[in-house]
Symmetry: C2
Subunit: 263 residues, 2 copies
């Protein structure tokens, strides 16, 4: 019974205005375990007690414990397996999983129209230009190869719009990858994966492929020659050149507003 507040009687203690209760029992338990993980009191890959044991120790029921564990699992902090050697384990922080999390969050915001197109274009232009600078400085030959591979693919005329967009995303990712900076790659994920597809799916219906490919090729060339200023300027021009096309494409899209009850 770890001090959780359940079925609290209104103890007539005068002047006790500070946070009566933080939330549901499940939330309190989730917060406790999360804190234990974040503070390192629970090591990576360490096994937590069984759900029944947790329920007993916290003085709550197993379904409530499970609700708490589900929340933590949704945050990629723990994972569960069945069986005798199963149980709940602390998950090693995974770069991909974390990147997916922030991408989802960014995609949601973009999809719900919380950002202006102009803002997105400006943010892309600036940050990707910066990445170009660092890429020109730190790129390896493998990075150049990765870019070349996408360029080759993009020149295939039979490529569907969707596949072309996907290749475009991979090209920009390759540029970010070439910076060799982990934290920057992590941050740029949100840009690359959420901002680019939204803008591109609108644009490529208007057949701007040739121009895009040309810009990509020049960018790669500048990075190959370690010409920071040129690479950055090219990228910024490439991205911000979309603005006009985007505004036009957006006008078409305003009319599509589906709605339907499914659940």
């Amino acid at each position: 019974m770890l001090g959780l507040i359940g079925r609290r009687g209104k103890s007539a203690m005068a002047l006790q205005y500070d946070e009566i209760v933080r939330g549901s029992l499940a939330k309190q338990v989730a917060d406790l375990i999360r804190a234990a993980i974040l503070e390192g009191r629970l090591q990576v890959d360490e096994r937590l007690p069984t759900e029944e044991e947790l329920a007993k120790r916290f003085g709550i029921s197993r379904p409530t414990v499970r609700e708490a564990l589900k929340v933590l699992a949704a945050q990629n902090l723990i994972r569960s397996r069945r069986g005798p050697a199963g149980g709940t384990f602390v998950t090693r922080p995974d770069l991909d999983a974390a990147a997916r999390t922030i991408t989802d969050a960014a995609t949601l915001l973009v999809g719900m129209g919380r950002f202006e197109i102009d803002e997105i274009v400006a943010a892309r232009g600036q940050t990707e230009a910066l990445c170009c600078r660092l890429a020109a400085r730190n790129r390896t030959d493998e990075d150049l190869d990765a870019m070349a591979q996408e360029l080759l693919l993009q020149q295939d005329e039979t490529l569907s719009d969707e596949d072309f967009c996907a290749s475009d995303v991979r090209f920009h990712r390759a540029v970010v990858q070439a910076t060799g900076n982990g934290p920057l790659q992590f941050i740029m994920h949100a840009m690359i994966e959420s901002f680019i597809p939204i803008t591109n799916m609108l644009i490529y219906r208007h057949h701007e492929r040739r121009r895009t490919i040309g810009a990509h090729q020049r960018i790669r060339m500048a990075i190959a020659e370690r010409d920071e200023d040129t690479a950055a300027a090219l990228m910024q021009h490439h991205v911000e050149g979309m603005r006009a096309v985007l505004d036009q494409a957006l006008a078409h899209r305003r009319l599509e507003k589906p709605g339907g009850e499914t659940i």
Copy 2:
């Protein structure tokens, strides 16, 4: 009974190798509802059926439904209230909530040592210098006031290390805020909130306050005068100047490795 796969007997259907099941029932339900929200089939602030009703429609039990809803609530997609007018509602995508999500993800990665200090310093220097440029271009007088307020606070000698660090974070946030670019602010949250505290809590034990304050003041002045190049250079120098101090501080910290069973 919406086609969920529960208690599946090994139906002897030959050649049905494709994804027998996606996961637990709770996960399947969570995925279904999430997709409905992300695709706009469930509008913002729309009320979902009651938990009992959902259980009936999906053909599963209420605890399982609740596990699914908890997952979605943890992702800030829904919220629940009790009472007759209560229920489960689709949450409007919130910038702060999303920012908190990515901050948590980044903090976790940093805390678990998935990034090198050098990388973090470099990423901070580059991106914050970029923000300085845009801040110098777009800042309002209110932005300058916000910076000045933190500077004033930082000059208080009696400030605790923790409070000084918090003010430092707010100063850097004010710079990002001054860019006036929503997506950029969103992305930079992860830097500001997770990368800065980690580095600063190490540094300020070594009493670098005066130098920090001086750098802040010069940065603000350059932004006020709309001098992009100077502001960017100052910020980059300010951030990357920490590297040596950081390496030193890190050496001290290597010895602290607490471990203890609490859950």
